[in-house]
């Protein structure tokens, strides 16, 4: 049957109009409404992620890991996909060591997505993974880990929940450790995988630099052990040990008590966060006599054999300054002033020096100013301006009273005597490794404080102090030791001193002729009062054995 041309035209017109309408509608959505549709469409498939930078690793001088960041698996749940919540809660409770009722309550809280447990131990994560419970999944989250637990806590500091380094090296070097986060923009498919041929814009993250410290983990562990034993024995309220390499000022160990666990700072007493080695000042007492005598030797005012008659006290500025226990030693050489720790002798030498030279010597040895070490919270200590000194201050400063120092300052000053007379700036970061390579820290010689000849004399005199003096229990069987004890009173708020409360300390180095290390041990309020120095010297001795053995130092004496 022939088709009517009119019908064909109507059909054609219909399709033409329909096509035009469809094309118009298409053009409307694709062109006019493009912007309105593109945003939501891309929003459904595009993910814009911050790619976190991995925080740098901190190692000791021998490469042992002190702090590192590891991804740990966190367990999450999509409760609507869990078929049997009670059974799941029971199984998880056993593996997580938690109350199943609490887990079940969370699963039945109506939330669409919840964390069950953050940063699981790997064994627990693996066991849960094996259960194969639908609706459970893992997300990897970074965790700062300290494999040595509380060891070197004050040196390291910690990282808070926001990922910011606080205290110690973590705080002081946070900017280089944290790195720079990157960004990744990709289209994702229905299974949340990045579409390989889709949109991809990536700005790679830059990981944080790795730091190698001057700390020696073996010496640090020994220092903390000896400090813990000394504090337990003395029931002291606190204390610290500083160990330096006298050749360049590198900090080998830095222990402070009370201490804290960098992985559990939330439950830590704030006082425990204070690093007593750098942020605590005290009157150092007799350990300062070495610097008074060194200054007098340097100026040629005395020799080791210069003698005075010790009557048990010295008068200066109209005040009477007594020896410990008021003991009169009779004829006493300058070397014996150290051996006997005679306050009257220190006043004798201080008087020869005079206020100006004694003040200058104390400042030159670094007292009254921060050492500049790359640690946080360092205090400057206190040496009053010369204009504020009374005549009696020459006497008291000569044996370490009326001024305040940090244990680190004292260690740095003793290191200057040990190394031949150069004061080095203590430092704890030996090198930094980043994408550009390794950057080593150059030791900083601040100034020469005494001549090599004076330093040699002082080493001999301090060795005699250990061999023949009151600090004999610091002797080591196969090594020479140089050092000095110190007992200081504690100033109270009235400007006087607390009765019968002391700070006991010992500063020394070994072997005396060619020192491998300098150590300062300080105990706060030991219960044995004046005998606290014995415990401090014992702590030095225990530490010295480990430090010398680790450094493989040859004995310089016959055992």
């Amino acid at each position: 049957m022939p088709v009517s041309r009119a019908r064909l035209r109507v059909l054609f017109a219909f399709f033409a109009i329909a096509s035009l309408l469809l094309a118009g509608k298409l053009a409307y959505w694709q062109i006019a409404m493009r912007t309105d549709l593109l945003g939501p469409a891309l929003g459904q498939v595009r993910s814009d992620l911050v790619m976190p930078a991995t925080r740098g690793v901190i190692r000791d001088r021998n490469g042992a890991i002190l702090a590192t960041t590891v991804g740990l698996r966190s367990l999450y749940a999509i409760p609507s996909r869990i078929p049997d919540k009670a059974a799941a809660a029971k199984a998880l409770g056993v593996l997580l060591g938690r109350d199943p009722a609490g887990i079940r309550a969370r699963l039945e809280s109506g939330a669409e997505w919840i964390f069950i447990h953050r940063r699981l131990p790997e064994s627990a994560a693996a066991a849960i993974d094996k259960l194969g419970i639908p609706g459970l999944g893992f997300e990897t989250e970074p965790k700062r880990m300290y494999p040595n637990d509380t060891v070197a806590a004050h040196v390291l500091g910690f990282v808070n929940d926001e990922g910011d380094g606080q205290y110690g090296v973590e705080g002081a070097h946070d900017a280089v450790l944290r790195g720079i986060p990157g960004r990744l923009v990709v289209e994702r498919d229905s299974r949340d995988r990045a579409v390989p041929v889709g949109l991809r814009q990536a700005l790679p993250s830059r990981d944080g630099a790795d730091l190698t410290l001057t700390i020696d983990l073996v010496v640090q562990t020994a220092a903390e052990r000896e400090l813990r034993l000394a504090i337990e024995k003395e029931k002291a309220t606190g204390g610290c040990i500083v160990v330096l390499d006298p050749k360049d000022g590198a900090i080998l160990a830095l222990a402070s008590a009370p201490s804290f666990d960098p992985s559990a700072v939330a439950v830590t007493d704030l006082e425990a966060l204070r690093d007593r080695a750098v942020s605590w000042t005290y009157e150092p007492g007799s350990t300062m006599k070495a610097f008074t005598i060194a200054a007098a030797l340097e100026h040629g005012l005395v020799t080791p054999s210069t003698t005075y008659n010790d009557v048990g006290f010295a008068m200066i500025g109209g005040r009477r300054l007594n020896n410990a226990l008021g003991r009169a030693w009779g004829p006493t050489t300058v070397t014996q002033i150290l051996e006997r720790s005679a306050n009257a002798g220190a006043v004798f030498v201080g008087s020869k020096l005079g206020a100006e030279r004694l003040h200058a010597a104390l400042r030159s040895f670094g007292f009254g100013a921060p050492t500049g070490a790359d640690v946080t919270g360092e205090q400057p200590g206190s040496v009053r301006p010369l204009a504020e000194w009374y005549p009696v201050d020459v006497g008291t400063a000569a044996f370490g009273q009326g001024l305040a120092a940090t244990p680190l300052q004292l260690a740095a000053a003793y290191a200057a005597l040990a190394n031949g007379g150069i004061l080095y700036r203590p430092y704890v970061v030996a090198s930094r490794r980043d994408a550009d390579g390794e950057h080593r820290t150059a030791p900083v010689a601040v100034r020469r404080v005494v001549s090599p000849e004076t330093a040699t004399l002082m080493r001999d005199m301090l060795t005699s102090t250990i061999d023949n003096g009151l600090a004999k229990n610091a002797q080591l069987s196969a090594f020479s030791v140089a050092g000095k004890t110190g007992t200081a009173q504690i100033p109270d708020k009235s400007g006087s001193y607390e009765s019968d409360e002391y700070i006991s300390s010992f500063a020394g180095f070994a072997p005396a002729k060619d020192p491998a290390f300098v150590a300062v041990v300080v105990l706060e309020r030991p219960k044995s009062r004046l005998l606290g120095t014995l415990t401090a010297t014992n702590a030095f001795k225990g530490l010295a054995l480990d430090a010398l053995r680790t450094a493989r130092v040859q004995p310089d004496r016959k055992p």
Partner: protein
């Protein structure tokens, strides 16, 4: 060969060529996608191995910790050596 047959042949060949080209393109795109997904899987595997390696490093550091070794030694009843004899290499060489 009539004009209609030639036209049909050319058109059919063009359609077939277009179809083959489209098939080739789709094959390539599918291949790229498959390789992309495989790459992502391998990257994830690499990251997991790195994570496991880091965890093992931490475990090693924990086991190597001097404090742990000291505690273990104490638990086993071992005592610290009071004095360690050191052999002087120079003196030994001189004796030989």
């Amino acid at each position: 060969m009539t004009w209609e047959i030639r036209t049909f042949g050319v058109t059919a060949a063009a359609i077939a060529a277009g179809f083959l080209l489209a098939l080739l393109y789709l094959g390539q795109i599918t291949g790229v996608s498959a390789h992309g997904y495989e790459m992502q899987r391998l990257e994830a595997h690499r990251d997991e191995l790195r994570r496991q390696s880091a965890l093992l490093d931490v475990q090693l550091a924990k086991l190597d910790a001097p404090a742990r070794i000291e505690a273990q030694a104490a638990r086993l009843g071992l005592a610290r050596v009071g004095h360690v004899r050191v052999m002087n290499a120079v003196e030994l060489a001189a004796r030989k």
